[in-house]
Symmetry: C2
Subunit: 237 residues, 2 copies
Amino acid sequence: MQKYKKDGDFSYALGTELTLELLQSHPQQVISVYVHSKQKDNEIYQKIIALCQKNKIEVIRSDKAFNIVNAKENCYIMGVFRKFTNDIDLSASHVVLVNPGNMGNLGTIIRTCTGFGIDNIAIISPAADIYDPKTIRATMRAFFRVRFSYFSSFEEYLQKASEREIYCFMLDGSTNLQDVVRPQKSYSLVFGNEATGLAPEFHNYGKSVFIEQLNTVDSLNLDNAVSIAVYHFVNLK
Amino acid sequence: MQKYKKDGDFSYALGTELTLELLQSHPQQVISVYVHSKQKDNEIYQKIIALCQKNKIEVIRSDKAFNIVNAKENCYIMGVFRKFTNDIDLSASHVVLVNPGNMGNLGTIIRTCTGFGIDNIAIISPAADIYDPKTIRATMRAFFRVRFSYFSSFEEYLQKASEREIYCFMLDGSTNLQDVVRPQKSYSLVFGNEATGLAPEFHNYGKSVFIEQLNTVDSLNLDNAVSIAVYHFVNLK
């Protein structure tokens, strides 16, 4: 057991719900499951142990391991797994995050997007690490459902993705989100970094869109902006 | 200088932007401004010093004070102020937060609501502390603009507020947000606690509304739900 490393091969699902989801969706990737002495012998624990037995996964009882990964309170079970890929479907509609910096935000965005049926996320590097246990925890299990790929630049992403309509969300966008008409093909909703937004050159890709605010002194935070945009798009008539 | 206390009379605006906004909007409530030795002599610093001189506010140079309030990195100026009230306009449209538990969420919600012109927030106790420096910081200055009041129960709130349309956001709400028609009078958008949502009895107040999701395993987080709802309501035609 060691601290999570961005360039390592393993990550951790912290807590009973994440570990159960991990065992159900990717049993072949699970290396071991750690159990803290404070874990109660309840229904979800029984399910986890049964899945470990079925898949011949080692169950290790150790309290120390939880200190190593800095697990929060009430995290008494964790699953160690090999990082796996679940590549983006390049023909589907996507949310594209350009240089997202915050792991909590990235996780929350994944949770919200998959909730609305947008299961494909493109991430443009440099960016927060989707495999970090903090990101995974913030996805509330959606990590095990989302399809995602990292790209080294937006151009690389565009070359690989299917023909599509591009909507770049920018404070000085030219189209009000309220005036966007329903896209006729797959689309990409593109958002910039939390602090800096999208660079001006993104005005050159597809449509630039703004979310109208009355008090524009401080813009929406990133995950609220993505939520509003995705909800609006999936409900366009 | 002492740690922030929920039942104390003072709070802190952490950072140059918050302190400047504090000095501009509520100079009479400011007791002193602390400056760290790492603060640069830049334009915003000059503005802050000028406002302190104009309003005869003491400027204290001390690095230790910043440790006491657990200020984050890059916070080299803070304003100490007497807590003030900016009571809710009981005839306006409101967002009502029932027992919000998280200070960061509360701050982000205030930031987003005021961005969309909903400047009045009712908070039903027990609830996170709006005056806590963490909440204030998360509002990104909107704290100095929002009007808010705490109520001991939703019933107390209802008795005091003007006649209005009530929309309670619940996972098992009866009306899809997409089918809500534009209210004809002031309205209240009511949201429950992050973990527990609204209790079933809220079905009895006005309309219960749900935000449709395809994957409903894990619902939207609170500030994303509020963002979507407020944006949708202010844009109803």
